[in-house]
């Protein structure tokens, strides 16, 4: 059973992974980035079998979920090889989920590359049987249409996150080729589920404040995977010798479109999360909203806002802050004139956001990431359709936000 009474109809994930969990019985498992969204869920499921789990964390304070489980929580920095050596003694399997998620660009790269190198070296030193590295579907870039498979070429990118993940993949592959490192690389699509940030809590927070202005008839394919499906792939691949030296795309049971994804969150936020306009309307409203920066410049004087230098989303936050500020001190007539073009935003107190540049490309790309290779090589068998996965996320969110806290 997943969850309590609210989720009794859900898929029994333990039953699904029962067979593969048997392979971890009596084994020693190291999980880096253990208190992250994916690492923690992996450990929750792994702890259902009798194995020794060493959950490597940087900060004990954020390990409250892990502390409920019968595992060892150990503190260490993957950049300091000596500090984590003892945790790799006797290790059978390593799940490397840690990555540079905060700090400067240089620090994130260091954590990704030097940290991964340390994990590889320690795994080799202690004859680890299988290593798993979490990469991302983003390494492929945004292909306009068609299928994305492991054969799809990587497009040029300047995104640090993508470049670091590619560098890590290269490092792992080099070690596989030079010394038969028993390593597998998984490239999950957008991972959602309880505790998810990017495809969960951040979306909810975003849609409470903003909504998208989208073009009618234009939509992209949302490549998403429910967290338990990803964990299933992680467990199955790391113990499968055929998988070593390969990279695998891990996508969900089905592909939906982004508008369906945005709509799903409306049941949580209680708002419309996007409004559709015709192409002409969209251009008109976009131009209207674009007028604001010049006014802002005049209003704030010394606060220079360079349209081209600030990112779109941030721009709107600054602009609305300025307008709100101005509204407090301006006459009703002036306010009315000033805000006449943004009645819609004012009525809902939420900001309209136009998709531009890479964000627009991301949400309109119609390429579908496929997991055929993972299914063929190690029997990856996703179980969660979007509706089912989202229902779990929604119920979890009600609980998390105190809206459904009855036992």
């Amino acid at each position: 059973m997943i969850g309590g009474k609210t989720c009794q109809k859900c898929i029994n994930i333990i039953k699904i992974v029962k067979e593969v969990l048997e392979k971890f019985k009596g084994k020693i498992i190291v999980v880096t980035g253990a208190n992250g969204f994916i690492g923690c869920r992996l450990i929750e499921l792994l702890s259902a079998t009798n194995c020794e789990i060493r959950a490597l964390v940087r900060n004990f304070g954020s390990s409250i979920r892990l502390a409920r489980l019968p595992i060892s929580i150990v503190q260490g920095d993957i950049l300091d090889k000596e500090s984590i050596r003892e945790y790799f003694k006797g290790v059978d399997y390593v799940f490397h989920c840690a990555y540079g998620s905060s700090g400067s660009s240089q620090m994130r790269r260091k954590i990704d590359i030097d940290g991964t190198r340390n994990v590889i070296e320690l795994s080799k030193e202690f004859n680890c049987k299988g290593l798993l590295f979490l990469s991302t579907i983003s390494v492929y870039g945004l292909h306009g249409v068609g299928e994305v498979t492991e054969e799809t070429p990587y497009l040029k990118s300047s995104d640090d996150y993508v470049l670091n993940k590619r560098a890590v993949e290269q490092l792992v592959t080099e070690h596989y080729l030079s010394s038969q490192l028993p390593a597998v690389i998984l490239q999950p699509t957008g991972v959602y589920g309880p505790w998810a940030k990017s495809y969960g809590l951040k979306q909810i927070k975003y849609f409470k404040l903003k909504y998208y202005a989208l073009e009618k008839g234009v939509d992209g394919i949302a490549n998403l995977v429910y967290v338990d499906d990803l964990v299933q792939a992680m467990l199955k691949s790391v113990v499968n010798t055929n998988a070593y030296g390969n990279k695998y795309i891990i996508s969900g049971l089905e592909h939906i479109e982004w508008k369906e994804f945005f709509s799903a969150f409306e049941s949580i936020t209680g708002n419309r999360n996007y409004v559709e306009y015709s192409g002409d309307e969209l251009s008109k409203f976009y131009k209207m909203d674009q007028r604001r920066p010049s006014f802002l410049k005049a209003l704030l004087g010394s606060l220079t806002v360079k349209k081209k230098e600030i990112k779109n989303l941030r721009k709107y936050v600054i602009i609305d802050f300025a307008i709100n500020l101005f509204s407090r001190f301006s006459s009703k007539k002036l306010k009315k004139n000033l805000l006449s073009h943004s009645v819609e935003e004012r009525s809902s107190n939420r900001n309209r956001v136009f998709l531009e540049g890479e964000i627009r490309q991301f949400y309109t790309t119609r390429s579908a990431a496929l997991s055929r290779k993972a299914t063929k090589d190690f029997g990856y068998d996703p179980k969660f359709g979007f509706k089912q996965g989202f229902e779990i996320l929604k119920n979890w969110y009600y609980w998390f936000s105190g809206q459904n806290s009855e036992r």
Partner: protein
């Protein structure tokens, strides 16, 4: 010779020592802070660098100046051992909550204090919050009639940059949110209503550290209470008291807010008198009472007996625990 002020050492240089005790005690004419004992060299160095004039030792044995009182702010599992060592030396002790990890340990500490003729007090700072004192007055004065029930919901996302595993290691902490936060809540219930009976206890742990729990209690007077605690999510952080003639809601934190809904649907949003302007004030008051307990024999607002019974109740909860079927408990 009569003592004129307490010469204190603080054992344990963790978060509460850094954020509360050192700032209050340094340069306080009513106390003389002799030293802080911190075993972890790096942590000791950090404290020394951040507080001018602070003396740090890595062991109690190295304190070469005389002291007559101590604050024990070590990880929970060391409360008993350190307190007893100090009590045996004739040192008065203010021990942070929880008093100890078992009622037997609490009893041993209390009897050591009695045998050595020194004072032992437990840090239960919430008794010094103005809003909690107001609640006690309302209950006792029957301002809104007899109390019928209480509902307490306290939760926040725990993400402290803790330096050790003492809060997430069962051997060291003795438990999770119940023994950490619940011990405060239960102490308030003892303060207001006396000893409750345990009806039910649920938590989410797999025989480790619970992050969520739900406690149902009752009193011989017929009053019932539900207490919900979390380290994973924000809960309303309120205490809702239902009386015969109305409902009173106060914050669990030292806040001035009080909402009163009377039976005639009148809603009053008011403020607790003597507002808390200084967040340190409850701690200062607690330290002042510790000083008066030692120097003048005055009875403190906190109670060793209640603290001890609180631990007994917590033990009882853990012994009778049932699984909490919440969303996050996946299988």
């Amino acid at each position: 010779m009569m003592m004129s002020k307490l010469k204190l050492v603080i054992v344990g240089g963790g978060a509460i020592t850094e954020s509360v005790y050192i700032p209050i005690l340094l340069n306080n004419s009513d106390f003389q802070l002799m030293a802080v004992i911190e075993q972890n060299g790096e942590r000791g160095k950090y404290l020394k660098e951040n507080f001018e004039g602070l003396t740090i030792y890595d062991s109690l044995h190295k304190v070469d100046e005389a002291f007559n009182a101590a604050i024990v702010a070590t990880p929970n599992y060391l409360h008993k051992e350190v307190s007893i060592a100090l009590l045996k030396k004739g040192v008065h002790v203010l021990v942070e909550k929880p008093m100890a990890l078992s009622s037997a340990d609490c009893e041993e500490m209390r009897s050591q204090a009695n045998q050595n003729g020194v004072k032992l007090m437990v840090g239960m700072v919430r008794r010094y919050y103005t809003n909690m004192q107001m609640v006690k007055e309302i209950i006792e004065a029957k301002t809104f009639g007899e109390l019928v029930s209480l509902s307490i919901k306290e939760g926040y996302v725990f993400n402290w940059p803790v330096t050790s595993d003492s809060l997430i290691n069962k051997r060291k902490s003795g438990g999770g949110v119940l023994i950490d936060i619940g011990v405060h809540v239960l102490d308030l219930l003892f303060y207001w209503l006396g000893r409750p009976n345990l009806v039910n206890y649920y938590d989410d742990s797999f025989n480790q550290i619970e992050a969520e729990c739900l406690i149902s209690l009752s009193w011989p007077t017929g009053v019932v209470s539900n207490v919900q605690l979390s380290r994973l999510r924000e809960l309303p952080n309120t205490i809702e008291l239902t009386f015969e003639k109305g409902v009173v809601v106060v914050d669990v934190r030292p806040s001035d807010r009080v909402d009163i809904s009377l039976s005639n649907k009148l809603l009053i949003n008011g403020k607790v008198a003597k507002p808390v302007t200084d967040k340190m004030k409850p701690f200062k008051k607690q330290l002042q009472e510790f000083s008066e307990l030692v120097l003048k024999g005055r009875v403190a607002r906190t109670s060793i007996r209640d603290a001890e019974e609180g631990i007994t109740l917590i033990q009882n909860c853990y012994d009778r625990r049932k699984n909490l079927s919440e969303m996050y408990q996946y299988y």
